[in-house]
Amino acid sequence: MRVVVSGVAVLTAALCLTGVAGAQPRDLGKPVVLLTASWGQGPGQLGRKDGSEGSSLGPMSFTVAPDGSLYVLDQVNGRVAVFRPRGLENKEAPQEAAYTFDRFISVPGTTFEEIEVGADGRLLLLDRLVREALVVLDPVTRDTEELSVLGAGIPEGGGVMAVLVRKDGVWLDYGREHSVRVLDSSWNPCERKIVPGRPLRGEDGTLEASLGVRGGADVRYEGTGDGPRSLFVLDDMPVGRLIDVTDGPGGLLLVVYHCWRWAEDGDSLSFQEVRGRWYDKNGQILATLSSPHTITPIEQFREIRVLQDGSVVQMAFTPEGVRLLQWGGP
């Protein structure tokens, strides 16, 4: 059965590409495996909580620190697992994954769902459901500061869908409708500012996205230089869920989505895949990526992270554990 599904996936991916007008988009190919970690509580393992009349939980999020380390929010075990690049070690004795376990950082709670790492090593943690707050943790001094996310633009913590670190501070995506700046660039509380959609990464401006008609998705964005632009993302399968939409290097635009095809009974999926498309400023597709890893019953808050260089990292759950995969930039 697995072989059959893979065959369908290859065929579907081909159809996706042939449907693109103009120059052939570049296929970003197979991802590099950054990390494999098994489920558990030991060193290098990541915690999973199987639901029993409740939601199943896995690591909620991950990030890449300024020094290149991988931070995985292992909130089930009440900690952050830090992995470092293997570097030369990888050349001398090639391993499957590019990162190896380094250390744990314990965090004050088990309900955090998002993590960011600052240039000074401080951790920014989001607990949207219980504390309904952002917590800044200094892993050296163990000092913490907590800021409620509730206020203008955020009536309830459960609507916060993403933490967006930008040059001018930290923004929270609320309900995929608007974003609210809650911290300044030094992670201090600031006067709130609300913009529709979400702020761009590379310049002043905003980006809005929503599922559209005919199984497509609408993306509208407006920067400082040009007037508003829009894209209609249409694939050979319906776009069931948008995972991330962001601008990247050179003003390129990345749309990552979860597409699937319903089985005839309308109650199960006959095929599903995570796909990404890089668009240039003219709306042309430059490059594509695809991943067979989709979300599972094990809940996670962040699936995809786009790094500064435009590479895309996916956190995937398997029965054996957690895998972090990386595709190069466009």
Binding site: G51, G159, G175, H258, S268
Partner: protein, 624 residues
């Protein structure tokens, strides 16, 4: 949630938990269906309302109980607390304290009121486990994932939640008892549709209310009335207003307690009358009182209190002024002006303001002023309200410039000394002269005068004459026919005199034969047109006394008067004429005098006379 209701259901929840904790995976909770299997009617809004009321309560594995106040949670009885003791929470690893909380299936069952709970009861039996919702039952139907609607349940083998709506990105908004660490939450989250199924509660009515639901509202004076939701989800009519009080809150009542006196009482917020006040003035005034007030234009009026304790009418307004303070009027005056006045604080008109108006056509309308010369050109102005022609140039001291500067009607009159730049076309300046002062009877003397042409134009040869001033009708007593060009023209310039050049006029005079006679003649330079050269010093004043005789007589030319102190007295000596020809009337060698005759004092007087009459010439000479 009432305390007695909590006491009633809590044992049930505890019993369920006990059973659950004995269970083995896959979890099967003990569920005793109610005797009556009919699913009670609900609206989607009611499902949402009940789901909202559970947010914030603890996760309680096997539990299904919380307290609510309308659609909001009521934490007064505690939220309950779940503690996880192992990583595969919950089940045996869950330790819960407190009487409130729910797991995912208990939460869903209670939100859906599947145990025939009352409208407000959020405590009840737990119901089936999450996986049960993946298939249809007597209380719900199985629906395709893509057909989900608000109020449905989303169920997997291990979890179930209440679906509210989709987000713009395809996530779902849901209420769920998420787990031991989280409790019951409302959030937007992703769903793995490969693992989840959709269950739709039966007997969802589309209406504005839930059948059987009742509603109360205030009515009348602190009363209440009630209505009930019918089987179609529509509100029935309001019932009668019951439990009303005696009065409307804030209303007043009064009764009399004497002339112009009364007592009052006020209705309380509970619709009951308060106590009567003391006796107090009821009307507006007491009979005999009076009032006055200002009226009209600084007038006054008065009124008195009548027997009814009410004020009578105001009297007519008296003592008014002609106007109201601040009132202003304006009216036309003169030809072109307006003036106004305003009313003072004492209602009297102030004086009219000055008559003033704008110049017609913005002051550009040309006219001829009454003054001649340079003052003639004017503009029509509105001065003091009257139209007048006002000259553009005001009179000024006369200049030697060919213009009538002082606007007296004559150009360069009075021999003005100031030369304009450029000068007028014709102007002459007396540089030097030799004039006889005393002559013996019948003596002949030569007169000469140097004039400089200070005008713009040259004097054409033979066309500029030295003539007697206007008014001479007969030859001068000094006339010498063989020397003069004509009887009234002593001399003329025979050559052209260019501007800036000096030329001399010379002629002889013959003294009359009458001793003591004084002859005064004024001679002016004149153009052939007859026009005199007017300035700055174009004339020659000749005053000759004939020596001898006791009483001098005068021959005074037109326009000349005898200067005081210049006449000769009997017995005075004639002045001695100098021999030099360069002087100014002194020692002039051209004059002829009688030998041996001395008139020294007279000569000095003549000299003084000449000096006075030619003061301007001397001044100009010194100034150079």
């Amino acid at each position: 949630m009432a305390a007695d209701a909590l006491a009633r259901v809590a044992p049930t929840a505890r019993a369920v938990r006990t059973v659950c904790c004995w269970a083995v995976f896959p979890l099967v909770l003990l569920f005793v269906p109610p005797a009556v299997a009919a699913t009670p009617a609900m609206t989607v809004d009611d499902i949402f309302c009940r789901a909202k009321s559970g947010v914030g309560f603890s996760y309680w594995w096997g539990g299904s109980c919380w307290e609510s106040s309308g659609c909001s949670p009521d934490y007064g009885g505690g939220k309950g607390k779940c503690t996880c003791t192992c990583s595969s929470c919950c089940g045996d690893c869950c330790n819960h304290t407190g009487g409130h909380g729910a797991d995912c299936s208990g939460f869903t069952y209670t939100v859906w009121r599947l145990a025939n709970l009352s409208q407000s009861d959020v405590c009840g039996p737990h119901g089936p486990v999450a996986a049960t919702y993946m298939n249809g039952s007597s209380d719900w139907t199985h629906e395709g994932d893509s057909e989900r609607k608000g109020g449905d349940a989303l169920a997997s083998k291990t979890h179930v939640m209440i679906f509210e709506k989709n987000s713009d990105w395809g996530e779902v908004w849901a209420w769920e008892a998420k787990g031991c660490n989280y409790g019951i939450v409302h959030n937007s989250r992703s769903i793995d549709w490969g693992s989840y199924a959709v269950a739709r509660r039966k007997n969802i009515v589309v209406g504005v209310c839930t059948p059987g639901q009742s509603q109360n509202e205030d009515c009348g004076n602190c009363g209440t009335r009630k209505r009930t939701c019918d089987g179609n989800g529509q509100w029935g009519a309001w019932g009668a207003c019951t439990g009303q009080g005696d009065c409307a809150p804030g209303s007043n009542d009064e009764k009399s307690c004497g002339t112009c006196m009364h007592q009052v009482r006020t209705c309380s917020g509970q619709c009951a009358w308060g106590a009567w006040s003391g006796c107090q003035v009821a009307g507006a005034c007491v009979p005999g009182d009076g009032q006055s007030q200002g009226c009209g234009n600084c007038g006054s009026q008065s009124r008195g209190c009548e027997g009814s304790c009410q004020w009578g009418g105001w009297s007519p307004c008296q003592g008014e002024g002609p106007c109201a303070p601040g009132q202003a009027v304006e009216e036309a005056c003169g030809d072109c002006g307006k003036h106004g006045r305003s009313c003072s604080a004492s209602c009297q008109w102030d004086d009219w303001s000055e008559c003033f108006g704008p110049d017609p056509e913005g002051g550009t309308l040309p006219c001829v002023s009454p003054l001649p010369g340079v003052c003639a050109e004017g503009r029509v102005r509105c001065a003091g309200g009257w139209l007048q022609c006002v000259g553009l140039v005001a009179p000024s001291p006369e200049l030697c410039d060919g213009l009538d500067n002082d606007c007296e009607g004559r150009t360069d009159n009075g021999e003005p000394q100031g030369l304009s730049d450029p000068p007028p076309p014709y102007a002459a300046e007396l540089e030097d002269a030799s004039l006889p002062a005393v002559l013996e009877p019948g003596a002949i003397a030569t007169v000469w005068a140097d004039f400089r042409n200070v005008g713009l134009f040259p004097w054409p040869a033979g066309e500029v004459w030295l003539t007697m001033e206007d008014g001479a009708e007969e030859p001068s007593p000094l006339y010498k026919a063989d020397s003069w060009a004509a009887w009234d023209v002593p001399a003329r310039f025979l050559h052209e005199v260019a501007p800036g050049k000096v030329a001399r006029l010379q002629f002889d005079v013959r003294a009359p034969d009458e001793p003591g006679r004084i002859v005064k003649n004024r001679m002016v330079l004149r153009l052939p047109s007859g026009e005199e050269i007017a300035c700055p010093s174009p004339s020659l004043a000749l005053s000759v006394r004939v020596a001898g005789g006791p009483n001098p007589t005068e021959d005074v030319g037109p326009g000349e008067e005898l200067a005081a102190g210049t006449d000769f007295q009997p017995g005075m000596a004639e002045p001695e004429l100098p021999s030099s020809a360069g002087g100014f009337g002194l020692g002039c060698g051209a004059s002829r005098t009688l030998p041996g005759h001395s008139d020294g004092p007279v000569l000095l007087l003549g000299l003084l006379l000449i000096l006075l009459s030619h003061r301007g010439v001397q001044n100009r000479t010194r100034g150079r």
